[in-house]
Amino acid sequence: MPGYIANYGYTDGSGDYYIVVDTDKCDGCGKCVEACAQGVLEVITDDYDDLVASVSAEHHKNLKYVCAPCKPVSGPRDLKCEMACPSGAITHSW
């Protein structure tokens, strides 16, 4: 059963901030959830009864801020969730 691409996040006056999960590549392993110290991610059973990674409800409107620790203004991008995923299912749009 083909999956879908989920864009979690928002656009406001200051820019676009989305975490993109490709559910075709995601098998719900949860490594990204463990890797994120901010608790941004979680594994859910979606509308089509598949286990997939998702952004938790309390964080999807705050991504710019809550993901900030991995994206300092000066310094290397250190996206722990992207690096933890064995299949490259999760990416950040900013």
Binding site: D12, S14, K61, N62, Y65, S74
Partner: protein
């Protein structure tokens, strides 16, 4: 040498007249819809308060979101540079500056000379700035100073989830409907904005001493919650709303 710094903010124009590092006068006028006129008016007022004449001013530097509108200024300075210059002049031990304005909030990391090393900002969104506080005061049917007072009397946490000043107004209405105490709502509002601004500030290295400037720094409740969220002590210079204008006036002298 007498110089003037004009901080053309989104809501208020601030002017500082300086003579060899000494503040001669300050003035403040609503920006309104004619920023150039407002700047002129504010400058005239400051000149009068200083007891000098227009010709005594050797150089004028403009800063702030609307600095380009101040066509009679000799030079324009970015807010970030003005923030750093003004703050470190008043408080030389400061290395991190948080400026919360009406429409924009900034976190700046600087060195001992007041040179900007790094900065992060939240712009173009009312939720990260003073406009959020005003919106919420409206929803609570209070004036901002009343809301600040009330927030200090809060006894319970209240949830404010909205990340948009418009949605937050509806949320506040629902909370009032659900009989949540206004004091608790007021505190939650301050907590929400402090949380947002702190997260932004943490994108730069946060080193002591940390200063809070801008109009919102006059809000004692905000200073309190900011200390809690950043987990560090925060100093607020005198006349925090005029720090940028001071920075601009200092720059005009060098």
């Amino acid at each position: 040498m007498i110089t003037a710094g004009i901080d053309m903010g989104a809501q208020v124009v601030k002017v500082v007249v300086l003579n060899d590092g000494q503040v001669l006068a300050r003035s403040m006028v609503s920006t309104g819809f004619e920023p150039l006129e407002a700047a002129q008016k504010a400058l005239d007022e400051a000149i009068k308060n200083a007891g000098i004449s227009r010709d005594d001013i050797k150089s004028i530097v403009a800063t702030g979101a609307g600095r380009k509108a101040v066509t009679f200024a000799d030079k324009a300075l970015t807010e970030v540079t003005a923030n750093a210059k003004g703050t470190t002049y008043l408080l030389p031990s400061v290395r991190t500056i948080v400026d919360i304005g009406a429409e924009e909030a900034r976190g700046i990391s600087c060195d001992a000379e007041g040179k900007v090393l790094d900065f992060a900002k939240n712009d173009k969104c009312a939720a990260g700035a003073g406009a959020f506080v005003e919106s919420m005061a409206r929803a609570l049917e209070l004036k901002v100073p009343e809301m600040i007072e009330l927030s200090l009397k809060s006894t319970k946490e209240a949830p404010i989830n909205a990340t948009c000043a418009v949605f937050a107004e509806s949320e506040v209405v629902s909370l009032i409907h659900a009989k949540v105490e206004k004091a608790d709502i007021a505190h939650a509002i301050h907590d929400a904005i402090a949380s947002r601004v702190s997260s932004m500030v943490r994108r730069i290295p946060v080193e002591k001493d940390v200063a809070l400037i801008g109009g919102v720094a006059n809000n004692a409740a905000i200073v309190d919650v900011m200390k809690k969220h950043l987990e560090v002590d925060i100093v607020v210079p005198e006349n925090p709303q005029f720090v940028s204008a001071l920075g601009a006036a200092l720059s005009a002298a060098s």
